[in-house]
Symmetry: C2
């Protein structure tokens, strides 16, 4: 019997690894991305490319204007993306983003009859983001099981966050073992239209460090490199 | 000290009553509506009208294409809105809609520094909708307090659903006591562009019954009436 899963994909390193894990577990994968007013719009091309090469059943892009509510460097051109390390909750945090994305994934899962949703949140690297913690994921899952027809009818919806306690190096190693081609992925918060990474933002720094710690060559295409 | 609240408004009877309740409780009200691909787009005009006459601090409309995931008569032109009573979860149910709307309200609340979100869900009339039950609201609140900066920093976010156990007649009476002008509101699932109600869908039937039971004249503007 086939089992369907909805996978949140941003075209970045983490969610691409999660997709490869879900495929390896035998799920029929439906990938979901958001055109939410983000700076790094090339992530949508990357999400499409990754979905195509992974032979997912379907890839959908939902338009959602999170810029309307503002409050983040990722959706508000007036707030700069920091190019050095910061402490506390970073300005790149998009208010309630994971909650919004998971909610829409929940809606699509309900339409598809899927009981499994995967996402690439990670408590190690993103400790500054409240919605990247195990307690949060577990609370979302409880809520989701009360929110839907499936929950009412006694099915159990599960939220899978397989990267939760992995380091970036662990993630890279797991993905490589599953055949992920990381040159296709873009993690940068301010990638160019062509998908070239800045090499300076939080996301670029974490990613680059992951390749170094895993002891593998970094396949990222950077701006300003020969 | 001022206290801010985000109020989900659809321009219908229920949410307009909730807005009047939040104002009566002294909240500075920020109203939020969604352009989500719904058939009844005149609700957006109604939400604007209601927000203007209630003198809210700000009214925002977030664009979000829920039609992309389909699955509801309200966002999919291929599914008809039923014009007779049905049992079970109705086809007008939009998968995870309240979860999605509350999530975006949560994001805006976080940007505003508001700790209170109001919405007009009701377990009496909408018993067929899983996301209109007290257990669901309470689970969302628990999740929300783990999802946000405010929650992490020890503030308590509350989800208010003051209509939860009220009948439609109770709601009409409460709203009239607070001065709500229901002729400005549109509840119909398939209202005309001018905001004229069909008088036949579930939402019209419940609303009309509310006025009858409250013993007040129905101010709704219907189609096909002289």
């Amino acid at each position: 019997m086939s089992k369907k899963a909805v996978i949140l994909v941003s075209g970045g390193l983490d969610s691409t690894t999660v997709l490869s894990m879900a495929l390896a577990q035998g799920y029929d994968c439906y990938t979901l991305s958001f055109d939410y007013g983000q700076r790094h719009r090339s992530e949508l091309d990357s999400a499409q490319r990754v979905s195509d090469s992974a032979a997912v059943v379907e890839h959908k892009v939902v338009k959602l204007d999170l810029g309307t509510i503002g409050g983040s460097a990722l959706t508000d051109a007036a707030i700069d993306v920091p190019e050095h390390e910061t402490t506390g909750i970073p300005v790149t945090y998009v208010p309630a983003r994971n909650t919004v994305f998971l909610s829409i994934a929940l809606g699509w899962a309900e339409v598809l009859g899927a009981n499994d949703i995967f996402l690439g949140v990670n408590a190690v690297d993103y400790s500054g983001y409240p919605d990247c913690r195990p307690d949060y994921i577990s609370a979302f899952e409880s809520m989701a099981n009360l929110a839907t027809k499936a929950g009412v009818e006694g099915q159990r919806l599960r939220i899978h966050a397989p990267l939760m306690t992995m380091t970036k190096a662990d993630i890279v190693e797991a993905g490589l073992a599953l055949g992920v081609d990381y040159s296709q992925t873009v993690s940068c918060y301010q990638a160019s239209q062509e998908g070239l990474a800045c090499g300076k933002c939080d996301s670029c720094r974490l990613r680059s460090q992951g390749f170094i710690e895993a002891g593998v060559k970094d396949p990222t295409r950077y701006q300003n490199k020969a």
